[in-house]
């Protein structure tokens, strides 16, 4: 019976392709958009991921998300260092600076001013692709992320072309001439600002607004300490808010999930994929059943019970669903491969594939159930009519 179900489905080539197309369209749009969504959402805590040494992120209690927070001063830093369980604590100044390239064009840079004394927050050695973070000890020097250097910060050439910003090139940061001494890999930011790294003392110097303050304290705990407990103690002792890196990442993620239009836009695309895919697959499936009603009527006349007809439809529906899922997820994965090394972030997670599978299964089973109703009403006496 499985064989009759499958050959019947595959034998009606045009309709078979239509059904599978509809389902793979739904599966592909859902996984692809879902993967981009989850990729984009991971960007909002990219700088947290890029700074693995920091176990705790401490900020103004009013922090909305990583880009929207208040100043912290040296006295508060000392208070944090005094809290039991804190092994070390260093300042991080994270701020947007305008870069003017030699042509006069202005580009916003997200600059991370890391602690002069420890270098925590500077690019890790393994992230460096050119130059060295050590060169940042010289004043008026900066390390740029390679993506920004190759995209937003390209240098115009006399012949009308352009090249990526490189070692030894200069940028005017807030009016101050700064030399590029390194290129590194870094997670993109949500706004796709290029990321730059410099010592906090140098960054404070070119950004006098900061007035010596900073906006994060990165901290480590003593071995064996309960990080959550240390966070609670820091908050109680200083009035600042301390979060573990995981909690801080999730906090930023949740902020964009609830406060931005990003999820809604992706939800619409996903819904569209589901609806359009369902419409195509459902319509074609019911057409398929209706075109083959003579065969179904014969089976009915020959004594096949309703449960047998239902089994045939279920086999046809699950076959289509599995094929649609495979092609759709395959297509999305291919799309992801093509995205390698571009602005778009792509995270095809197992959960997404599971959701897409559930979705195509729902579509195809619903289509089968709708068609089953017409099959149950189908008059077997039809077999004698020409």
């Amino acid at each position: 019976m499985i064989r009759i179900a499958v050959t019947m489905l595959v034998g009606d080539r045009a309709k078979f392709l239509g059904i599978v197309f509809g389902l793979s369209f739904a599966a592909m749009l859902m996984t692809q958009q879902g993967a981009i969504f989850s990729g984009v959402m991971a960007l909002v805590y990219g700088h947290v991921s890029d700074t693995p040494q920091a176990e705790l992120w401490i900020s103004d209690p009013g922090l909305a998300e990583i880009d929207t927070t208040g100043p912290i001063n040296e006295r508060e830093l000392d208070n944090v260092r005094a809290v039991e369980g804190v092994r070390w604590a260093v300042p991080l100044l994270r701020t947007l600076v305008h870069a003017r390239d030699p042509d006069g064009r202005i580009t916003p840079l997200m600059v991370l001013g890391f602690d002069d004394a420890t270098g925590i927050g500077a690019p890790l050695p393994k992230a460096m692709v050119a130059g060295a973070a050590g060169a940042l000890q010289r004043p008026d020097t900066v390390v740029i992320d390679e993506y920004g250097a190759a995209s937003k910060l390209r240098v115009a050439l006399p012949d009308g072309g352009s090249r990526a910003l490189g070692l030894g090139d200069h940028l005017i940061l807030n009016g101050r001439d700064t030399e590029v001494v390194g290129l590194c890999r870094s997670t993109l930011s949500l706004m796709l600002y290029p990321t730059a790294y410099m010592r906090r003392s140098h960054l404070s110097a070119i950004d006098p607004d900061q007035d010596g303050s900073f906006n994060f304290i990165l901290a480590g705990t003593v071995p064996g300490a309960d990080a959550q407990e240390v966070c609670r103690r820091i908050s109680a002792a200083t009035g600042l808010i301390a979060r573990t890196r995981t909690d801080f990442s999730r906090h930023n993620h949740d902020f964009y999930l609830h406060e931005s239009g990003i999820p809604a836009n992706f939800a619409i695309a996903v819904l569209l994929g589901f609806v359009v895919g369902a419409a195509i697959a459902g319509q074609t499936f019911s057409q398929f059943v209706s075109d083959n009603r003579r065969i179904f009527a014969s089976l009915k006349a020959m004594g096949m019970r309703d449960s047998g007809l239902m089994r045939i439809l279920l086999v046809q529906a699950t076959t289509s669903a599995l094929l649609g899922l495979g092609l759709g997820v395959g297509g999305a994965a291919l799309f992801g491969c093509l995205l390698e090394g571009t602005d778009l972030s792509f995270r095809l997670e197992p959960l997404l594939i599971l959701i897409a599978f559930a979705a195509v299964l729902v579509i195809s089973l619903a289509a089968a159930m709708l068609s089953l109703r017409s099959l149950l009403r189908l008059d077997p006496a039809l077999v004698f009519r020409s």
Binding site: I295, A301, G303, D306
Partner: protein, 248 residues
């Protein structure tokens, strides 16, 4: 109605209502014996197909009584009616109605598999039935690669492979030329007539009358005449020889 495999009394069937009502059957009384070929003839629209649909258990009469081997199908649940057909009824259609994506052998085995037989066993029995209709060299053929006469032979194999007690054929030769039609009727005579089986053939085709044992003429929903032909029921031992290993 005692003893006859198929027995109808006062069977009425009307399609539609009021002005548009079509009185397809207007009170049919009919007894069909087993072991002979019973032909149902009559002009187009007189109700032949309606009548055999009711006899085959795929259409319900509006009034009157139908007994198939003593059984009143109206008293059975839908599922039990389906099971009754799977066990007891074979169909041959004018348009063959083979499943186009299955091989000849699979088409024949389908009848048995609907009745619950495992595939392997069903395929073996299907091969035997195809041998009986002289199609054993085309077991793997797809229906669309076969001629109409060959397809109808496969359809006959499909209709009798489960040894049904009722075999209904609606215009089995109408889509075939004279020679092919003759072959089909000969095959039906040779392998479909069995003691204990009622065989009904609906036809327009007066060239096949000679193959029948009994002919009922219908007109406007009535049976107007019944004629016994020169063909007589084959001797039981001759029939048994043809079906030596197929139990009744």
């Amino acid at each position: 109605m005692d003893g006859h495999p198929i027995s109808l009394r006062g069977v009425v069937k009307t399609f539609g209502e009021g002005q548009a009502a079509v009185h397809a059957l207007r009170g049919i009384n009919l007894d069909v014996a087993a072991g002979e070929m019973f032909l149902l003839i009559g002009p187009s629209g007189c109700g032949k197909t309606t009548l055999i649909s009711i006899i085959a258990g795929i259409l319900r009469q509006d009034a009157g009584e139908v007994r198939l081997f003593g059984e009143d199908l109206r008293r059975l649940s839908a599922g039990a009616q389906a099971d009754f057909r799977a066990r007891n009824v074979g169909f041959v259609f004018q348009q063959y109605n083979l499943v186009p994506t299955l091989t000849a052998q699979e088409n024949v085995a389908l009848t048995l598999m609907i009745g619950g037989m495992p595939r392997r066993l069903a395929m073996g029995r299907a091969a035997e039935a195809l041998f009986d209709v002289e199609m054993s060299d085309r077991l793997e053929a797809m229906p669309n690669t076969l001629s109409g006469g060959q397809q109808q032979r496969i359809a006959i194999a499909r209709a009798i492979v489960h040894d049904p007690r009722i075999l209904v054929c609606d215009e089995p030769t109408s889509a075939l030329d004279h020679e092919k039609g003759r072959q089909v009727m000969e095959i039906l005579r040779a392998i479909a007539i069995r003691p204990g089986r009622a065989l009904m053939v609906v036809t327009h085709d007066n060239r096949v009358y000679d193959y029948s044992d009994r002919i009922a003429s219908m007109q406007d929903g009535h049976i107007i005449r019944m004629v016994r032909r020169r063909f007589t029921t084959p001797e039981p031992d001759a029939a048994d020889a043809l079906h030596a290993n197929a139990p009744l």
